[in-house]
Symmetry: C2
Subunit: 351 residues, 2 copies
């Protein structure tokens, strides 16, 4: 049976959403959930939820240490061998779990995955792949913030891993890939984009060209690649702008009694939009490229978000996402080496 | 009297919004508007609008050539000396106009301004400064897309010019400045941000630290600086996402008869939000750093947008924005030279 380690105390709301999500997963998914964290707290939570006897496919692994949110994640992960996130990654590394899910400190989760699980052979930089709601469905943006500075070879590898992810998790056949840029012409963009584009057709992905800012949320392509600096700004901005717009609408409605009545009648429509754009429904953001399934959930994850992240983890394990990426990396080994050499040269001329 | 050259046929809707905006400006502003473009078309438009006799503070300068939107803007500007945008910039350069406004091809407008008017002494890279609606008011983002790849010194100069702009146009005293980045800590970000931040306090602006993507539209700071690649993506994304969200809301409302009734009642509130977020009300985006006032308006500018751009141009001339920036650049000459030398060094070590 597939075993998923869950960072049981990770996230802004402590044990409750994690344990609730795990209980739901244990009921509905064909998987064992390993709750990793301070066992006293986990047991107390389970008892409070009426599960003083563990369901048969839930187990607990004690990991009493806590990552200091304010400290340097790399140092914390190295120093605290029994922090829950470190134990999660270690369980995957030792083959005692097939995947981990954490809503805790995302920097620490990344470092733990990288240090304890290592990278898939050939992958230079793991990336955060974030499913973003679009008008019709969902696009996968990567890198969502793991690598602030990138080289062309990194973006190319993100394209390969992102395509594999959309195939496995969202069942998209031959996913289309775009590179985030300015202007539609392939000759525009910054130095990184201009060096990356010419190689996009050599790596076996369904490359569709550049995607402009205005099309990030229209579903123009299934996968959008960019460096982690731009990606993180785009993701956070989407979140912030949606909230600001909703607040503006509320403010104007509150000024108008008739509009207040109207808003009551339209409530269902707004709820539907909120549901569609809610990240909780998209199963967390995997760190792709590490040698094992690692899913990083939003700090504000509720039990639905945790359940969906666990469900995604099971899917990735079942469909052997890691094996698939490893195989693609092996097949592209020579191509990537050639591109890396060529791009180093390009950098010298134009950088 | 202040004289503003207007690219009379620029923009997606031809002469009409330009001429209407000019007529309104001639009536309400203490300025002369010079309509630049094919004089036959301009005269025909004026006649159609009941002005076969020119109002006393409107004049026409013939510029029959047209910039090919698909061609390379630099080549077009060099080749077509009587294209309207080239003539506009030339009029400013020769002192026959104090400023120009164009809703035409923005690339061509930038090149024309740069080639014909030159830069303010000390400015390395002119930038597009775009006013962005926030929850309460407006923030100025620069660079909006003129420079895809930037160095620290460029961002620092954007901060100085953006502050001057917010003071002059939006009457903000000691405007706050943020640098767009990921994470709130000043130690995070990409290489460019990390090299820029330590110098932000040396240049006499009211630096408040980093601004994350989620705060781009909350009005965290009056000025937000970033490179033109990130800036263009942010601006286009704000536009696209707002539209996508409105479309999603509409779609859900249409599915529900009660919500349709509700939407009718709330119409005023939505109109108010639309008005507040409408770029037409913010007077176009100036190209700051060129040696003269140059305002680039959205291609979809209507007569309100054109009027507001003309009004902003008058304000910038009246308040001697160019003189103010020139003075600041002169005062910071040694500081900028020192920083440039230091950053070249930093680049070698960490780049």
């Amino acid at each position: 049976m597939i075993r998923i380690a869950l960072d049981a105390l990770g996230g802004d709301f402590g044990a409750t959403p994690n344990v609730l999500g795990a209980l739901e997963a244990a009921k509905r998914l064909d998987a064992e959930i390993i709750l990793v964290g301070d066992q006293t707290v986990i047991r107390r939570e389970l008892t409070a939820l009426g599960h003083s006897d563990l369901p048969k496919n839930i187990s607990v692994v004690n990991a009493p240490d806590v990552i200091d949110m304010g400290a340097d994640p790399a140092r914390e992960v190295r120093a605290k061998k029994t922090a829950s996130i470190v134990v999660c990654a270690e369980l995957v590394h030792k083959g005692q779990a097939d995947a981990f899910v954490s809503a805790g400190h995302s920097g620490a989760a990344m470092v733990a995955a990288l240090l304890r699980m290592g990278r898939i052979k050939g992958v230079l930089r793991p990336a955060i792949a974030t499913p973003m709601p679009t008008y019709e469905g969902v696009s996968l943006l990567l890198d969502g913030g793991a690598n602030a500075d990138c080289k062309p070879i990194h973006l190319l590898q993100f394209a390969v891993m992102g395509s594999a992810y959309m195939e496995k998790v969202f069942d998209v056949k031959d996913p289309s890939v775009g590179i985030l840029s300015i202007g539609e012409e392939e000759t525009k963009g910054n130095h990184l984009v201009k060096c990356t584009v010419p190689h996009m057709r050599d790596i076996g992905v369904n490359f569709k060209g550049t995607v402009e800012g205005r099309d990030v949320n229209t579903g123009e392509t299934d996968v959008i690649v960019c460096d982690g600096f731009v990606g993180n700004i785009v993701l956070k901005m989407a979140e912030g702008l949606a909230k600001t717009m909703m607040n503006m609408i509320k403010r104007e409605i509150k000024k108008r009694p008739l509009a207040m009545a109207g808003a009551l009648l339209s409530k269902g429509a707004f709820k539907a939009v909120k549901k569609h754009t809610n990240p909780d429904n998209y199963g967390g953001a995997p760190l792709v490229g590490v040698n094992g399934v690692a899913i990083i959930s939003h700090g504000k994850s509720n039990e639905v978000a945790i359940f969906n992240a666990l469900k995604t983890a099971v899917k990735l394990v079942k469909k052997d996402f890691i094996g698939d990426v490893a195989q693609k990396m092996a097949a592209l080994k020579d191509t990537f080496e050639r591109i890396e050499a060529e791009c180093a040269h390009e950098g010298e001329n134009n950088g």
